[in-house]
Amino acid sequence: MFNSFKASAFGRFTRQFRLSFVREAHKKAGGSKTHMQDSAGKRLGPKKHEGQEVKRGQIIMRQRGTNWYPGTNVGIGKDHTLFALEPGYVRYYLDPFHPKRKFIGIVLGKEDRLPYEHFAATHRRLGRRVIKNTVASQREEEYMSRKEQLIMPDIMKEKQARDQKRAGKVAKFQNDLPKFVGDLSTEELAIAAQRMNAIDGFMRGGKSLEDGRFYATYNYNYETDLSCRARKEISEAELESRKQEYAELAKKVDDKVMLDARFQLCKYLDAQQREERKKQDIEQLKTLIPDANKPVDKRVREKAMELIDDSCFSLSEQIHLKRRFLKPVLPESEELLGDDKTKHAIVISRMNYDTRRVDTIYRKKEGFLK
């Protein structure tokens, strides 16, 4: 069995060995290194010459790399092909701002030269026609991109909600204004409510009360001016009378009512009155809460909150006063600490770095504002 294996293996070997010596018909590989490397011509070079007329998109130059750079009104493709962006006449030129480059550009006028004068306004072509057909123009105007189409329902919904909210606010002002300002006719009341709504918007946007009032008046006058001078809806005389009426109404309302820090209607206070009220309130707060580190009962707290919420204070002043008189957490004084038997105690675990143990602190409920 071994012999037969040996014989067959040897036989295979000898057969292979013998084969490698057979010379069969084939062409000898190799030869010159540069043999057979020429490709067909790629038809490069200028397609349009100096001064030749071109249309939009016509190819001016085919090239490998940027032997020529795109100049005025000329674009460049991914294989560096130069093409016309505007109809005109081809110019091959040099630009002193780029001394190492050659450019190809398009001029709009037959006699024009490139580069254009450096500080002159650029020569531009509109290249668009007006759609005269009313149906077509309307269709074009109403055309929406897919993106716009998709987003439009949401925008309209938001707008509707906004309008509704605004109308609600105006109605509320219309309802509340007579409480502060007497003898307003229905028309006057409507205008006054609109004005308060405008001021509210301005103040929410960050303007002061004075600025809000000024711009509310300014916007009304601007609109009335336009209706007279631009739209010719009312005469000059009527314009003046309307402005006058509005100014009177504005004064009447402004003397009685203003918006407080939380944009609620309240009685108008001028700067001096406001200062006085502030002083009074702070004095009262001091007598009410002589020591801010002592707990206060519910009645005192409510009274203090009422004083702090007074319309004479701005929002930041209110916050400062709250921090000063009604501390959310009082310091851990003897009388505010309890033990494990204290009812409703608030338990705090705190690492004590001196003893390296966790201390359990029982704090009475009174030590916290809420």
């Binding site: 939009r56 450096h118 500080f119 002159a120 306004a121 650029t122 020569h123 531009r124 072509r125 509109l126 290249g127 668009r128 026609r129 007006v130 759609i131 123009s137 309307q138 074009e140 105007e141 055309y143 918007g201 301005f202 929410r204 946007g205 960050g206 303007k207 600025d211 000024f214 711009y215 300014y218 916007n219 601007y222 609109e223 336009l226 001078r229 631009a230 739209r231 010719k232």
Partner: protein, 348 residues
């Protein structure tokens, strides 16, 4: 403990605006050892934990006194100069004086603090604050506006070029929300439906200067010539500005209605005409403009000719962009302009 005892704590010759208004802040800034920790630390625990860098207690007063002495020397120089000659006579002397005034206060910690953190509220009549404002503007604002003007080709499409000398800020305050507009922002037709407010910040001394403001749109389609033309949207002349008051707003214009020679025309770009560049130009006037040689028309407005005729020198600019949106027709109605044309979407 305040360490200021020399020239920087006396205010008989110096303006009180060169000091810090907040007394606590002043104390924190001028004390070598920061008794209550840095003012910027709000929490008491962080203040207690704060340790000032080693050697600061000795070095800080020394440095302060050295700088203060230098400042006192410069003030002496100024005094001598004012005694010797009348500074108002020549521009050269004025410039030297301003330079010295800046040099005297440049290193005052209080001034530096004000210039760094309260730049909106600083007293612009003081040369040193103007110097710091100018530095800040040159570092960012000036580069930004020039980049926008060049890349949007506002120069040379409106005026040939600009060497900005003033900072121009703009917002539209007739809307509920107002914010400073960055040059080149695209704004909706609703935002721009009423005139903007401009702030011109002069870095030179300016007690009463006269300015002209133009807002032009160089992208109005000119169908006849298959090109674009410039339209005048707003024109103001003889607007009085100074270092303290650089604001051109509705309040000022209501008081001086003669300033407005071309009323504000809101941008209403027509459909498919692309983004329109509304460029705001601020010019310094040499003298008061009583009237114009030719009546000023809005259409085909030649801004270059206008500036040459009236000897106007451009010192600042701003730009915003507008595009057709679904509110344009409402604005057109508001200004009684009739319906706008609709252009074809494709270019021919």
């Amino acid at each position: 403990m305040s360490l200021s005892k020399g020239i920087w704590s006396t205010f008989n010759r110096r303006s009180p605006s060169l000091a810090l208004r907040n007394k606590k802040l002043q104390k924190a800034l001028l004390s070598p050892n920061l008794p209550e920790g840095p003012f910027s630390l709000k929490k008491r625990s962080s203040k207690i934990r704060y340790i000032s860098p080693t050697g600061m207690d000795e070095i800080y007063p020394l440095a302060y006194q050295f700088l203060e002495k230098q400042s006192a020397d410069v003030y002496k120089k100024i005094e001598n100069m004012e005694k010797k000659c009348n500074v108002e006579q020549s521009d050269e002397l004025k410039r030297t004086l301003t330079k010295l005034q800046v040099e005297a206060e440049e290193n005052n910690p209080e001034v530096v603090y004000n210039a760094m953190f309260g730049s909106n509220l600083v007293d612009r009549t003081q040369p040193v604050y103007r110097h710091y404002l100018e530095q800040k503007w040159k570092d960012y604002g000036r580069m930004l506006i020039m980049q926008r003007l060049e890349s949007l080709a506002v120069i040379p499409d409106t005026l040939p070029t600009l060497e900005p000398q003033v900072e121009v800020k703009m917002k539209f305050p007739c809307n509920n929300v107002e914010r400073w507009i960055e040059p080149g922002d695209i704004l909706s037709s609703n935002v721009t439906s009423r005139p903007p407010m401009l702030e011109v910040i002069e870095f030179e001394e300016c007690k009463r200067g006269l300015y002209t403001v133009l807002v032009v749109d160089p992208d109005s389609p000119d169908v006849e010539n298959d090109s674009y033309s410039t339209t005048l949207h707003w024109g103001l002349k003889n607007v009085e500005l100074s270092n303290q008051d650089g604001i051109i707003d509705a309040r000022k214009l209501v008081k001086n209605p003669d300033c407005e020679f071309a009323s504000y025309l809101a941008p209403t770009p027509e459909k498919n005409t692309g983004k329109h560049r509304f460029s705001v130009w601020i010019f310094r006037q040499k003298k008061e403009i009583d009237g114009f040689r030719e009546p000023v028309g809005r259409e085909r407005f030649d801004i270059r000719k206008f500036t040459a005729d009236n000897e106007l020198h451009a010192v600042g600019a701003h730009v915003w962009r507008s595009i057709w949106d679904r509110n344009v027709n409402n604005v057109r109605k508001m200004y009684g302009m009739g319906e706008g044309r609709v252009f074809a979407r494709e270019k021919v």
